[in-house]
């Protein structure tokens, strides 16, 4: 059976195909992997690039899509792109949830009935502590946005990023979980993960070191090439890291898929990954 038709052809690769839709962001978080900020180069994938890769991805056996950045909702065509992708497979968007204006929320009504989820960053139950890392006003905007998204029928997940998750204050975690439950997000949709020592976290001496074997290989397309994980295309001092680069070519998708399968074949199995970063 050819790789074009075999749904198991991805082997050990994660079955979600990721896109870095853009690198710019309205925030400037202290641990941002990509040094994203309002003034950085956008380095956007075009809508056609994403649609073509998604179509090829489905043929190659990918069963879901992920979009991250930067802040994906700053991509002018993001809402239309997501509608196209979600019509093919479940689609997850990672967002800071601070740009949901009434006009944008109205446009997102076009997603009704589609399998779209948004994973929102929320790090602490106290607004001032949360906003230390993520910027002023972040907490308020997030807690306002979540019920609105749920009202639109959009699935909401919460991602909490901590310096030392294993030793997080239990009381703080209890209050954070109570908060997300009160906003309509169940425990099953809350993930706690460590800060990765890449990107802006390096300059701020935050996070833990990771290597390729720590990650489940998940093909991630960017304007600069294909990477082995969404944690790969990081930026430090304005320079793109290439240690987790797979190929510069992103189309046809079979090129980076084959290359990543080769690279992953020499790595430990995904369920042996040391830090279980997802």
């Amino acid at each position: 059976m050819s790789a074009d038709t075999d749904p198991g052809a991805l082997g050990r690769l994660g079955s979600r195909l990721w896109f870095y839709s853009n690198y710019h962001c309205n925030l400037q978080c202290s641990y941002c992997l990509t040094e994203s900020a309002p003034g950085v180069a956008r380095r956007q994938l075009t809508a056609d690039q994403i649609r073509d890769a998604a179509r090829d991805g489905r043929e190659l056996g990918f069963d879901s899509f992920g979009i991250t950045g930067g802040e994906p909702f700053l991509h002018d065509e993001l809402i239309e792109i997501v509608a196209d992708l979600a019509a093919q497979a479940p689609t997850l968007i990672l967002s800071n949830a601070t740009v949901f204006t009434p006009a944008r929320l109205r446009r997102m009504e076009a997603w009704a009935g589609l399998p779209v989820e948004i994973q929102i960053s929320l790090d602490h139950p106290e607004p001032d502590v949360n906003d230390e890392m993520r910027g002023p006003g972040n907490f308020r905007k997030v807690v306002e946005a979540i019920p609105r998204l749920i009202d639109l029928g959009i699935g909401v997940r919460i991602a909490t990023t901590l310096e030392d998750p294993e030793n997080a204050d239990p009381d703080e975690m209890d209050r954070l979980c109570a908060l997300h439950r009160s906003l309509g997000v169940p425990d099953s949709h809350h993930v706690v993960r460590p800060i990765i020592h890449r990107g802006r976290a390096v300059g701020n001496t935050l996070g833990r070191d990771v290597v390729f074997d720590d990650f489940e290989p998940e093909l991630t397309l960017t304007a600069d090439g294909a990477f082995a994980t969404p944690f790969g295309p990081t930026v430090r001092g304005g320079r793109l890291d290439t240690d987790l680069l797979v190929t510069r070519a992103t189309a046809p998708l079979s090129v980076p898929v084959a290359a990543l399968m080769r690279a992953a074949g020499e790595a430990p199995a995904g369920d042996d990954a040391r830090t279980g970063i997802r």
């Binding site: 290439t242 797979v246 510069r248 090129v255 290359a259 990543l260």
Partner: protein, 185 residues
């Protein structure tokens, strides 16, 4: 001359390039190709197969490599392969003749080596079809498979000549020291 592209540093080596960094930073050809790992991944094995051990002797291959590099004026390749040619047993007079842009055949006494030099001169400086006289001499001294291998050695070298020259790749300190010691800097 400065390099327009810096080699990829070992801590930034892409996944497919990592085998080339197993013993630290590779040479500048692999180090720069690592910017496009999917090309490195196929180019270096091909280059290694073409220029490395094969059915024809290493001495013949180095005659072809050094002569083509001299005619295409690739400083990196000439200097690097002068060292390799000496290691393969070429004498100084042969090396100097190959590095000179003038006629080189007279430095060689074996007919098939003289035919090879003429063949490489045609490939590296000619345009269009090969001179029938040069072609006949090559056919007289080499089998078909040998002609193919030596032609690939020469043309692969020509590709590298332009690659290394365009990117301004520097020779290693080790090569520079050896050339000085040999009086061939």
């Amino acid at each position: 001359m400065s390099s327009i592209v810096a080699p990829v540093a070992p801590d930034q080596a892409p996944l497919l390039a990592r085998p080339y960094y197993a013993n630290g930073a590779p040479g500048p050809i692999a180090g720069t190709m690592a910017h496009v790992p999917e090309l490195l991944d196929v180019a270096m094995p091909f280059i290694g197969a073409a220029l490395g051990p094969g059915a024809v002797s290493a001495r013949l291959k180095e005659i072809a490599v050094l002569r083509a590099s001299a005619l295409l004026e690739c400083d990196y390749c000439v200097r690097s392969h002068t060292v390799v040619a000496l290691d393969e047993g070429l004498v100084h007079a042969e090396v100097r003749a190959l590095r000179d842009s003038g006629p080189a055949e007279d430095a060689f006494t074996v007919d098939r080596e003289r035919a090879l030099v003429a063949w490489v001169d045609e490939l590296a400086t000619g345009r269009g079809a090969v001179d029938p006289v040069v072609e006949a001499r090559m056919a007289e001294h080499f089998a078909a498979a040998e002609i193919v291998e030596l032609t690939l050695v020469t043309t692969t070298t020509m590709m590298l000549n332009r690659y290394c020259t365009a990117l301004g790749l520097p020779v290693s300190a080790t090569v520079a020291e050896r050339l000085s010691a040999e009086g061939l800097a």
